[in-house]
Amino acid sequence: MLRITRELIRPDALRAELTDPAAGAFAAFEGWIRNLNEGREVLRLEYEVYEPLAIKEGEKIIAEARSRWPILHAACVHRHGLLEIGECAVWVGVSSAHRDAAFHACRYIIDQVKVRLPIWKKEHYVDGQSGWVNCERCSEHADHRHIGGTFRPSSGTA
């Protein structure tokens, strides 16, 4: 299950959806908005999501995780809109009989979500400037940074 929301993410309620009497393990990941990126002080982040395709692609990622590891339940929720420092931008949870599957599937889902979902974020800096955050993979190539002066490598959460 992949959901996009403008509301605060509530990990406890999401976790409750993944319980199962056959589950011995539960792994979760959260991406939090942090106050510093590439040395610049961040005030808040603005997320843009193209929802129809984000959901389609997200469901595909979760199905892939299911086919690779013996998991019971998996879910991912991504925020949309304006987020403040400390807020949760993305939540991933996986329950399974044994912990190895839960850890691997959880990691797979967040890694894929970050590079495949049509989601963008604009950082608003303390100095009043703002800039779109470049993709995680792209920022590994320093030569492609800062085209037009508005692109920032790396990401607001991690």
Binding site: P118, I119, N134, C135, H144, I147, F151
Partner: protein, 81 residues
């Protein structure tokens, strides 16, 4: 032969195009051709390999053929999470 293609821009592309959607009448066989035409208009972008494209709400590749009436969604480098 010219095709009517609706282009949708997202994030930085939308800001640079100054619009969310536009209807183009262009000679284009593939999504790559559409993107090339768009770059003539909005200026240089990140390399093709870092951007993504969808046709009629299905993720596509840069060799995907476009037909008259298609909607092409142009995605700058994504950065979810």
């Amino acid at each position: 032969m010219s095709k009517r293609i609706t282009v949708r821009y997202f994030a930085s592309f939308r800001e640079r195009a100054g619009t969310e959607t536009e209807n183009l009448l262009i000679d284009a066989a593939t999504t790559r051709d559409v993107f090339d035409r768009v770059r003539d208009r909005i200026g240089p972008t990140e390399p093709l390999g870092h951007c993504k494209v969808a046709v009629n709400d299905e993720m596509a590749g840069w060799d995907t053929h476009v037909r008259d009436g298609d909607t092409v969604l142009l995605f700058p480098p994504v950065a979810g999470g």
